[in-house]
């Protein structure tokens, strides 16, 4: 699936919830299903420091694709991370770099991305794109 198709799939899944509670419960559940993050990789260089929740992000490049792993100490943040990884993991650097990220807005979680929330998610998105740029420069040029 393309990153666009995955995003549309997520939007579809969220469209069944008309109540915020159901939506957040689903997000929390999603956060709980996030693949475990290797504690050893909770290094300062992988840490994205928000003033609210902390996010750790790591990435690997294998056979032309990027594999992201991430974690957060806050479960709602973790839920959004899980969605981002679903969109971007196992994609090529070009896919990640060229994605127009529209699903967060569409499922009504924009508030989690406002800079005042300072939960590290805005930086996480930037860092994921930066990984893609770096992998492309290192392995594909």
């Amino acid at each position: 699936m393309t990153t666009e198709q995955i995003q549309n799939e997520i939007i579809d899944e969220f469209s069944v919830f008309d109540d915020w509670m159901d939506k957040y419960e689903y997000l929390i559940e999603t956060g709980n299903t996030l693949a475990p993050y290797n504690e050893k990789n909770k290094t300062p260089s992988n840490l994205i420091q928000g003033c609210q929740s902390r996010v750790w992000l790591d990435a690997e490049y294998k056979d032309g694709k990027i594999y992201f792993t991430a974690d957060s100490d806050a479960i709602i943040t973790k839920g959004i991370i899980a969605l981002l990884i679903r969109v971007w993991s196992e994609k090529t650097p070009d896919d990640v770099m060229n994605t127009d990220l529209f699903f967060i807005d569409k499922i009504g979680l924009r508030e989690n991305l406002s800079p005042t929330r300072a939960n590290g998610l805005v930086s996480m998105i930037k860092n994921m794109k930066a990984y893609a740029t770096a992998f492309k420069a290192k392995y594909e040029s």
């Binding site: 915020w20 957040y24 003033c51 609210q52 929740s53 100490d73 806050a74 943040t77 929330r117």
Partner: protein, 405 residues
Amino acid sequence: MFEIEKIRKQFPILKQKVNGKDLVYLDNGATVQKPEQVIDIINKMYSQYNSNIHRGVHYLSNKSTELYEGSRETIRKFINAGVTEEIIFTKGTTDAINLIAFSFGEKFINEGDEILIAETEHHSNIVPWQMLCKRKKAHIKVIPADENGELILSEYKKLLNKKTKLVAVAHVANSTGIINPIEEIIAEAHKSGAKVLIDGAQAVQHKKVDVQQLNCDFYVFSGHKMYAETGIGVLYGKKELLEEIPPYQGGGDMIKSVSFAKTEYADLPLKFEAGTSNYVGAISMGEAVNFINSIGKANLERHETELLKYAEEKLSLIDGLTIYGKSENKTSAISFLLHRIHFYDVGMILDKLGIAVRTGAHCAEPTMKHFGITGTVRASFAVYNTKEEIDILSEGILKAQKMLS
């Protein structure tokens, strides 16, 4: 008579719904909402009286100058300063602390001197002193807090010595609401020859403050936390000290005469008010004092103490909830965490329920470190809050706990 419904009616912002629910505003430690009479005076300033102060000979300039200086006098009475010149308008608490760090620092701090601050300070009462110490090769010493967040006075006394030039502590710690024993802190500092700055940002809106009785050398606070506009605050300083220390910033209004050879500075208080000051803000601060006086400080204090006690009782009933900062001497704030649940998640769920709280380190990272945590959820109260709102908070916490565990 204290009539909560009448008080609430004066705050237009409280009437709104947030996320479909009645707004429950419990982030008053960050900033409080404004009563109609404060909003009205700001409006009136711009629609009827606006003109730069201390400048013109015309009607409007006289009018706004009169209101500005009238506000200074209102604030003098509010904290019972001796003379009006002791009230300096600043941009806020942080600005006032920076002013003292610079001006007092220039005059009195030398290499090897020591400045005492409390472990439970917010960053505004830490960083300006660090900058000063770096500039002057002086040192910061920290008054430790015990496991409940109360300052340990015996340790404080041990830290005082003849190198101690200044003690800077909060009247009320912002992250826990604990009222520090400033009377004793001030008396001990003076015995040892040190001056004292009290950060009253979290105190003046909740408690009666009498700077002459306290005998502190400096007392600073912000307008926006006491029902006035943002971008305005006050530095109170003892007249003889303010006269001794140099100006902080140069510009118009703070001078008597200027030539390229020599500039003579204005007398107090204008010496410290360079440039066009935030006169609308200052006037709103006077009006905020009128608002507080119309309720009565004693009534306000009684109501807020009741709210705090009620919140402590209510929240203590929640399994797995820990309150940070335990003391008999607290005002208007309660900081807590739910076991194994992140404060950010709790704040997000409460927001969805229309409840505004503060989450995070509250600009007091050393305090959080002291408790071995990275942040808390803080509910903080103002005069317009009710027990019903605390019930809603408590139900909200239970709901968040259920969703998140």
